[in-house]
């Protein structure tokens, strides 16, 4: 079975260690603007949510690429950009419905999470266990979580009537 990233937002403290670790892998510096995992801070809701590519089955980025620069790594299942083939057209960044494929103006290539070849630095760096790298074929947990959050949000804004 392949492994995938699982986020447990309730455990996140917003410390950005994941962004720092990811940027270190990408650039060899501490540069969160080049991180492929981003922590979204919702202050008034006390909610901090790390968010990255969950290697979805549909792989819109891969399908959109006109030069077949994105392929699936057989070992990790990650959708990986081959720099040598990428022409920097950014179609994949538009195609991704999750907003987790980025364009790097320094290299003029697309870049996205490749699961660090099977040992994601973000999961290792997270001090609270909010990012796990677990046995799972897909990121099904994401849909369930979104449903839960949506229900509680609707309840909070309209005393439950909106739901």
């Amino acid at each position: 079975m392949a492994k995938s990233l699982r986020i447990i937002p309730e455990k996140c403290t917003g410390c950005m260690q994941c962004e720092l670790a990811c940027s270190w892998v990408q650039t060899g510096m501490f540069q969160p603007s080049r991180s492929l995992i981003r922590v979204n801070i919702f202050d008034e809701q006390a909610s901090y949510a790390p968010y990255t590519c969950f290697q979805c089955d549909e792989a819109w980025c891969m399908n959109a690429c006109p030069v077949n620069a994105i392929s699936i790594n057989a070992d990790t299942g990650a959708k990986v950009v081959a720099d040598a083939n990428c022409v920097g057209c950014s179609l994949c960044t538009i195609a991704c419905p999750f907003g987790t494929v980025f364009y790097n103006p320094d290299t003029q290539k697309a870049f996205k999470c490749d699961l660090c070849d099977g040992d994601p630095a973000c999961a290792t760096a997270c001090p609270t266990g909010a990012i796990e790298f677990v046995d799972s074929d897909s990121a099904d947990w994401l849909g369930g979580w979104a449903e839960k959050v949506n229900a509680s949000y609707l309840a909070s804004i309209d005393g439950g009537n909106a739901a």
Binding site: T13, G14, C15, M16, Q17, L20, A21, S23, W24, T27, G28, M29, F30, Q31, P32, S33, R34, D43, E44, Q45, A46, S47, Y48, A125, P127, T128
Partner: protein, 614 residues
Amino acid sequence: MSKGGWMGTVLRINLTTGQISKEPLNMKWAKDFIGGRGLGAKYLSEEMDPTIDPLSPDNKMIFATGPMTGTNVSTGARFMVVTKGALTNAITTSNSGGTWGPELKFAGYDMLILEGKAPKPSYISIYNDQVKIHDADHLWGKTVWETDDMIREELGVHDTVVSCIGPAGENLVRFAAIVNDRHRAAGRSGVGAVMGSKNLKAIAVRGTGGVPVANPKKFMGAMWEMKSKLVEHPVTGEGLAAYGTAVLVNIINESGAMPTNNHQYTQMENADNFSGETLTDTRLVANKACFSCTMACGRVSELPGEAQGKFMVTTRPHNWKIAVEGPEYENAWAMGADCGIDDLDALIKASALCNELGMDPISFGATLAAAMELYEKKYITDEQTGMSFEFGNADALIAMTEMTAYREGFGDEIAEGSKRMTEKFEHPEFFMGVRGQEFPAYDARAIQGMGLGYATSNRGACHLKSYTVAPEILGIPEKMDPAATEGKAAITKVFQDATSAVDSAGLCIFLTFGVGLEEMQPQIAAVTGIPYSVPKLLEVGERVWNIERIWNQHAGFTGKDDTLPKRLLETPIPDGPTKGEVNKLGEMLPEYYKLRGWSTDGEPTKEKLDSLGL
């Protein structure tokens, strides 16, 4: 660009002329003072006359990061605001976390130096090398949170981080804070009033660059090693993470060291009402970390439905249905025990109000406590205060939080800080502080070393410059008897020097609960590429301590200011486990001067200064 830690550039903005310039960081000074607090003090010493009025355009403000700021070292988030304090007239070094400091580094700068005074309300935006001064007429009068929202929306740059003043800073409240990330603050000594006096509302920063490390391999090993130690330590791995800083409430109260009713007592009956344990059980919704911190001592609390309507503050639009940060130990104490108040909901609201209005809750709470004692002793009346100032009146606390920030009614007196206020009402003996700055949450009669630390602290009474509570109460690194004076001069000097080094590196002093300079040293050396050893770091710390001391001397302070209020020196604690104690400063101070290599009057000797290269 330097190869590690430092970005190598100082951003200088003259608000009077609108001139924006960039200059190379003085690397000789950077090596001698590292960054943050030390390097800021060096620049201020070189550039500014210490005798000027802190609220005049002649005062400069330095926002200084350290080489560790912006790295993934645990707590690599800190920056210092170095200026002449509006509350103290002494050099001040107010520290803050959050993401503002790292963001300044990512934009390419180690330091931001502000000079002069803007002709009208303004704010600064920094987006990498694009730096602009904007009109802020529409922001003047807005709260910290409103300002944060409005600036981020109007700049339209994702992930912009705002550091700003609230109404308290605009109204020159002597203990106004500068708040970044909505809830993190360079809180003490009135740095917010200095910013307000410059007509500067905010500094918004976004940077997309990176912080390089000189020796990545060595760095990564040492970085992981320290993080593991922090996790394993009972304070940094469990206590702070589980209960926040308010874990100290019960510990300090049970030790008979929690100043109560303006330092009249040292224990409060119902202190557990606002302890970290109670907060966690009843009001906590999340733990919040500053940038890159693996401890996450920040508390986020929410009031349940029935408590939202309590202590209504009618001018606040959000009606308290949102999560807010705090309370922490210090503000829970100052507005709680020191004012005789034990209502947790009142403290959550007052803490959030201080963040929102941009005010230091320690000095505010302690000044209200002094006013409450004036009221108790009938030196001020209902007619003057406009309401009952009885100790324990939570309604008065909430009302005065707002009125102080806006300088309305008696809030105008509180806004001057307790030294000026008690002098005005002719009872300066009720001022509980040093160099014009109010004490934090530890009674110096119950913890002897803290008395020496307060008395000699360059920025006025402060718990963050030599936290000997660690050995004296918590037993870190080794237990010392809090009632004894023996050995306190030596530990105070070492703690002051070590703290100065940590503050200069860009790290958080809370690291020292779990690790020492031994663990930090390899990381600082690897990031900067300079072989700072532990003795070398202590030498930097001593250099920083002395440069601040000399600065204060030029500003008019002398050894005579190294003292404590009469109450702490002469009035024994009336009851509790520390009953009968006074602070025996006289037994410690001469030895401290000697260890510092200063004269018997507390003046740094020429030999000492020469040896430090000052």
